[in-house]
């Protein structure tokens, strides 16, 4: 899911427009002709489905009744408001997003700082660090599902072997108290390398002489991190946060594979899938999809603002 994140890169609005001469106008026309295919593709594959989702969210369309549907106004949204499973899904999604992104950022920062410093075998470490990120999410979800299995999973075997008897046949994903956090842990395991990679790229553009100057002034390593590294890393950090937050909010595969429609871990995307695919409620499912879209749009605007503030 994380691979197809849309970028909300900051863009300076250019005041350029072609001079009002004949040549200028023809250049402008050529410009339009050249971007026309792109505009058509975007209209076809992004705008049309989006508009269609909005439209469907105001209907009671079901795929089993293609010729018996009508517009129902805001009924679907009103139902969502009082839908307990949707509330659970939204709450789970928020917890998942906040905890996984926070943990990935802190761990990613530690990993990035470590592999940024020069040590023997750095190349090998850098490459092997990326292995969890390279495994397809469905595969790593199943893998962890087995490792967390209550009776033959290696996690419980190890814990019991260390003397923690309460983990004998402990069901990590089945127990409502640990279910969501187990899934967050798997996501952190998988995505920390990606975070580290983005932060490493940010670290590498900080010039060495800044550190040298601070060393001359007698700054400690700790002061260097807070006064130099973190402020200069902020743009890269924000971009990484945008990527991760948007992807985490739409989380689907890891939850669906590890715990299907179980309400202790259901996310808004899994709930949309349940209503759209399993229950064939296209209208209601579209309303859920629209709410997800609005949440994501809100987050994008929020982050773009933060990045803009950063730039000025």
């Amino acid at each position: 899911m994380a691979t197809n994140t849309t970028t909300a890169a900051p863009r300076k609005v250019s005041k350029f427009s072609a001079p009002p001469t004949k040549a200028g106008r023809s250049i402008e026309r050529l410009g339009w002709v050249l971007i026309l295919p792109t505009v058509l593709v975007v209209l076809g594959i992004a705008i049309y489905p989006l508009v269609e989702s909005f439209r469907l969210s105001f209907t009671n369309y079901r795929s089993s009744r293609p010729d018996r549907w009508r517009y129902v106004g805001f009924d679907n949204y009103r139902d969502l408001f009082s839908d307990e499973v949707f509330h659970k899904a939204l709450w789970n999604t928020i917890i998942f997003t906040v905890t996984s992104v926070a943990a990935e950022t802190i761990l990613g920062m530690i990993v990035a700082l470590t592999i940024h410093s020069a040590f023997k075998g750095r190349g090998v470490v850098r490459t092997s660090m990326l292995v969890p990120w390279a495994i397809p999410t469905v595969v790593s979800s199943m893998l962890w599902g087995w490792m967390l299995n209550d009776s033959y999973g290696i996690v419980n075997k190890t814990l019991v072997g260390m003397g923690f008897d309460r983990f004998h046949k402990f069901s990590w994903v089945g127990d409502p108290g640990t279910a969501l956090m187990s899934i967050v842990a798997v996501d952190v395991w998988k995505t920390t390398p990606f975070m580290a990679l983005l932060l490493l790229a940010g670290l590498q553009v900080i010039p060495d002489d800044v550190y040298e100057a601070s060393r001359v002034d007698g700054a400690s390593k700790w002061q260097q991190f807070w006064q130099i590294t973190l402020p200069l890393l902020k743009p890269a950090l924000l971009v990484a946060l945008v990527f991760r937050t948007l992807a985490a909010f739409r989380v689907f595969d890891i939850i669906f594979v590890m715990n299907s429609y179980n309400t202790s871990t259901i996310s808004v995307s899994v709930y949309a899938h349940r209503e759209l695919m399993n229950n064939q409620r296209i209208g209601y499912g579209s309303a859920i999809a629209v709410v997800i879209f609005l949440c994501i749009a809100f987050l994008v605007v929020l982050y773009t603002r933060m990045i803009k503030v950063e730039e000025t």
Partner: protein, 482 residues
């Protein structure tokens, strides 16, 4: 379609091999489909081959297969073209192709075998889209046991066909037939079936001197005693009972068995009244809540069929609820369980009207109202569900027959010895999910049921009475939209 592009020499060779009987029927089909030949062309090539093979099979049998001709199939359907949506493109396809070809051979009709989608949801979408447009793209199609309610408006009444088969000594199980009947209309004929059953470690019953349980209370006692003994002997992984309780359709099937076997009905009764919050239903779910973390592992709330079978197959479960497919795997030569277990009816509860219950699965044949050859299509459906074809389907594909008499057939018993143990389950114990009455909203009903029951079993909710009352309200809301 790339089917137009043929390799002439390979096709000629195929036709020659067919005519001179140099290749078996199965080979011909395999080679023909590899060459991308159309169904019609394959049909005529295979008819050539049957000319060559005629002397070898005096009593009309499909060469290379155990499919024989039903005696009543002496009809001339020359010039009629039928399209049938059957098994998806997988292990079942060669058999269904052979069944279609044999029908074409015997009646002169042209049969186009359309491979259905592998996913049930996709298949249902295809059916509803085609049938809502009243299109005659297909005449006969196979439907899941929970679909008769959804598709009833498009179905041709098949009561007469089933009665004729019964008149010829092929009687369908009454409970399965009931599931296919809506009002007075038999919307589909049962093709093959499935039902939940209880697997028991008979060696451990003997070891601990416990009788085979017939009620849930007895099962609890037996499971606890065996598990205590086995864990005491050092097998930490051993548990008393495994089943499926993840939040999915399988839990609806399990819960239906607990509730119905306790006299608590089928969540929604045939007349549309919601019964999921009856006292017996509440008692049954409450009993199951007591199993989790007791005789059953607490992780059972995440188990689907294969997760639970893993524990049974490893020899770590005294009792196990699953579908008939587990029998073959457990009885296989390389299985540790060989000779140590039995398969039978699930226990009864002790509420009023307690009865054996095994949730019904399986597939049925439906004839489209919009077919241009309804009579010929009905003959085909009748043929697909006849004792002869069901016998072959059991032998070649291990799918369970829906006709009582097939269970006594020596060839079937020789191929699948366990089938005699399944008989009482289909005969007296099977119970259908409330799909007829909830029609196309059945999935919503099932989702509401498995969500609530899963929450209760996992301890996300503890008040069974309040939870099932709330569930009843949800089901009533859904039923208003039917």
């Amino acid at each position: 379609m790339s089917r137009e592009i043929l390799i002439p020499n390979a096709v000629n060779k195929l036709v020659q091999d067919a005519m001179y009987g140099r290749a078996s029927r199965r080979d011909l089909i395999k080679r023909g489909s590899a060459l991308g030949l159309s169904g019609a062309l394959m049909g005529s090539i295979l008819r050539f081959s049957s000319v060559g093979a005629q002397s070898a099979t005096p009593e009309a049998q499909a060469a290379g297969w155990s499919i024989t001709k039903p005696a009543w199939l002496d009809v001339d359907l020359s010039g009629v073209e039928l399209s049938a949506v059957l098994a998806s493109d997988g292990v079942g396809a060669p058999f269904d192709q052979a069944v279609c070809d044999f029908f074409a051979e015997q009646t002169g009709a042209t049969v186009n075998y359309i491979k259905g989608a592998e996913s049930a949801t996709d298949r249902l979408t295809y059916y509803t889209q085609t049938l809502n447009a009243e299109a005659s793209d297909f005449d006969i199609f196979q439907v899941d046991v929970i679909w008769p309610g959804i598709l009833k408006v498009h179905a041709q009444d098949l009561s007469a066909a089933a009665d004729e088969l019964a008149g010829d000594g092929a009687n369908f199980f009454e409970r399965i037939l009931t599931n296919n009947r809506i009002g007075d209309t038999l919307v589909s004929i049962p093709m093959y079936t499935d039902a939940g059953c209880l697997y028991t470690r008979t060696d451990l019953l003997e070891k601990y001197g416990v009788a085979a349980p017939t009620t849930w209370a007895e099962l609890e006692t037996a499971a606890a005693a065996i598990a205590e003994g086995e864990v005491g002997e050092g097998n930490d992984a051993f548990v008393g009972f495994t089943f499926q309780a993840a939040a999915y359709e399988g839990l609806t099937c399990n819960a239906l068995e607990w509730v119905y076997s306790n006299g608590g009905g089928t969540f929604i009764e045939a007349d549309g009244t919601v019964s999921v919050n009856s006292d017996q239903a509440k008692a049954a779910i409450e009993r199951a809540m007591g199993w989790v973390g007791g005789i059953a592992p607490s992780a059972v709330t995440t188990y689907k069929e294969e997760d639970s079978r893993g524990i049974w197959q490893g020899g770590n479960s005294a009792f196990h609820r699953n579908w008939p497919y587990v029998y073959g795997i457990s009885a296989a030569a390389d299985s540790d369980l060989q000779g140590k277990f039995s398969m039978g009816l699930l226990p009864k509860g002790d509420g009023d009207g307690a009865d054996n219950a095994a949730t019904l699965g399986g597939w049925n044949m439906m004839v489209s109202k919009y077919s241009k050859n309804v009579d010929a299509a009905t003959v085909f459906a009748k043929y697909m569900c006849s004792a002869e074809v069901q016998k072959a389907r059991s032998i070649e594909r291990s799918l369970n027959p829906t006709i009582v008499e097939v269970y006594q057939d020596p060839d079937v018993l020789a191929a699948n010895p366990y089938i005699s143990e399944l008989f009482p389950i289909f005969d007296g114990g099977s119970v259908a999910r409330p799909s007829g009455v909830s029609a196309d909203l059945y999935n919503e009903v099932s989702t509401a049921v498995f969500t609530t029951v899963n929450e209760l079993l996992a301890g996300q909710q503890n008040d069974v009475s309040a939870a099932l009352d709330d569930l009843a309200g949800q089901l009533e809301d859904i039923m208003q939209d039917v």
